[in-house]
């Protein structure tokens, strides 16, 4: 068995020292996601020369800059379209996308829908903090009803995106949601996502004390992180209670956020299907060329 590294050794191996310190605020969950990717890569023994990280714009999208691998920090919302091209050019590389809730489902919603629908073979790590963090706390498409943002000062009246449900409906090969407050499941899902043929979405719920927690009176950093434990429920648990629980039990979990692996399917990714198409055409052309000789 491979000897496990400790967190410091991992950082030494994967982190770009020149980029330190990160831009992340104290208590931000995004840094945890960075560590989880290090763990996942280490456990998968990925060759860092054959992994590319892409991102859009936002605090979450800064993560590729801290990883000692090729990184493409693109424009706001467009990372998935850039990644589609990159993966087409280098199907042998693993392409891992870091994106935010605003980046991926606000301005980038259309690219998200189509990358998932095409089942593009990339791994998307979406850091959902219910807010536009980088620009100072404007309302995101993931904002819970009633939540406060600088552009919804009287409370949000819009329905929030359920990103995982959306990805599921689009036929993404792998869909999971976890809070960043516990390492094990996110690391496992990131690993599974990277290994998955086709589109993998891992939504990591990431606390943003600066632009979300403070304004929404969720308490200090410790309390904010506790919120994620108190307000999430394992999908299996949720289903069980909804099927067999008492009315009080049902009422208690009704508004909780479900976490877990929502979809895990084996099906050909876009580039596998494309290669098959190419093979078919080449065979016909080559036959014709030989016949013509």
């Amino acid at each position: 068995m491979k000897e496990m590294m400790n967190a410091n050794e991992l950082r030494k191996k994967y982190l770009v020292e020149d980029m330190m310190p990160t831009i992340f605020c104290n208590g931000c969950g995004h840094g945890n996601a960075l560590d989880y990717v290090f763990w996942a890569m280490e456990e998968l023994e990925l060759d860092l020369d054959k992994v590319a990280f892409t991102s859009g714009i936002g605090c979450s999208s800064r993560i590729p800059g801290y990883i000692n691998a090729d990184g493409l920090h693109t424009t706001h919302g467009r990372a998935l379209a850039f990644s589609t091209g990159l993966k087409a050019a280098r199907p042998d590389m693993d392409v891992i996308v870091f994106t935010g809730d605003g980046d991926c489902t606000g301005i980038g919603g259309n690219h998200f829908i189509h990358a998932a629908r095409r089942n593009i073979d990339i791994t998307v790590i979406l850091l959902n903090n219910f807010i536009y963090g980088m620009t100072g706390g404007q309302q995101a498409p993931t904002a819970p009803i009633g939540s406060i943002a600088t552009t919804s000062p009287y409370g949000n009246i819009e329905q929030a995106f359920n990103i995982c449900e959306l990805a599921k409906a689009l036929g993404a090969a792998y869909v999971a949601r976890w809070p960043v407050s516990h390492p094990y499941q996110p690391i496992k899902s990131i690993k599974e996502g990277i290994q998955k043929e086709g589109f993998a979405l891992i939504e990591l719920m990431s606390p943003c004390p600066t632009a979300y927690g403070r304004r929404n009176k969720l308490g200090n950093i410790e309390k904010l992180w506790q919120w994620y434990d108190d307000n999430t429920i394992l999908m299996e648990e949720y289903d069980k209670i909804m099927d067999y629980g008492t009315e009080e039990e049902k009422e208690a979990i009704k508004s909780m956020i479900q976490i877990g692996v929502f979809q895990d399917e084996e099906k050909p990714g876009f580039f596998e299907a494309y290669d098959e198409l190419v093979d078919r055409l080449i065979e016909i052309d080559d036959k014709k060329a030989q016949g013509g000789k």
Binding site: D18, G65, H73, A81, G85, A89
Partner: protein, 394 residues
Amino acid sequence: MKYERDPERIRRVLGDKVQFIQGDIAVAYGGLLAGVGFFGGYPITPASEVAEGMARMLPRVKGTFIQMEDEIGSMAAIIGASWGGQKTMTATSGPGFSLMMENYGYAIMTETPCVIANVQRTGPSTGQPTLGAQGDMMQVRWGSHGDMVAIALCPSTVQECLDMTIECFNLSEKYRHPVVLMTDGEVGHLREKVIIPDEDEMELFERIPATIDKDKFIPFTNSQTRDSKVPDFPAFGTGYRTYVTGLTHNKMGYPATDKQKDHEELITRIITKITDDREILTDVEEIELEDAEIAFVTYGASARPAESVVRMGRKNGIKIGMLRIKLAWPFPRRVINELSKKVNTIIVPEMNLGQMVHPITEYADAGCKIVSAQKIGGEMHLPDELYKILEAEL
């Protein structure tokens, strides 16, 4: 699979050496010959035939064609694929070109080679979808925010659609810059004879790959191996572990968003790497200019009626000539200035309300009269119309 250019296969897919085809298809042919490995596009008249041609041919040479969700995504995808080390391309028209501006700027900022064919129509907005115009000659130069320069070529014939597409790839690879083929609906849908160049009749330029030691390599600065402001290209997956960002970055590629000097140095380099070569890039055709007293300065489709008028005028003893600009940006300042000192009047026919007439006026001698001959509505000037404009200036 990873694309590799296969000349024999490409020629087999293209077919006969001499063909009678549309400008748009010639653009697709040019792309294929240049070795495009990835095309991402979105349908739009009058450019759709380029994407359709690519959809038909590219998989048969083992390249990838994807119809993207929009033009923002098309532009993004070709930049991503370019960092994967491929030659990449998209094609569009006015409304799509507007959507591409964001990532066109990103390609400039990140020094990403790629080619855009803009089969121009008119606007603002949806305008006249099926008709040609020269609506975007300024947008290509100034359309993205911030300080930038453009490299843009204007074909007047179907053969030039093919040849100049190859040239766009060469310049894009050489300067690591998005290069735009500024064709239009007239030339795009025109059918003419083209001759497909053989392998030894083409010159293909490939981006210079990074080769020096990984720990000594500096990704965003003058080349470390040649006398050039264009850095060698560290394609993803080759071990250089490059960080590419549209933020102002230092030589190592790291964000330097609050540093005046880094920004100035970066932007100055990515502009002057092109403008330093203005004379090398200048590409014009001179017709009957030796003794001319009056001249058309034209580009693209407008050159066609203007050339007929030169012939008509010469028959009638008028000392008329024509300068056809084949590479519109960077603007051929010297050539225009010299011409303006030689002739009394320059007439600039355009299928817009006067776009290239502005730099022409800016660089012409004050003593030369500049006449903007404008026609909009999706029609080219008729030779008779242009002749009348010429006569009025005699």
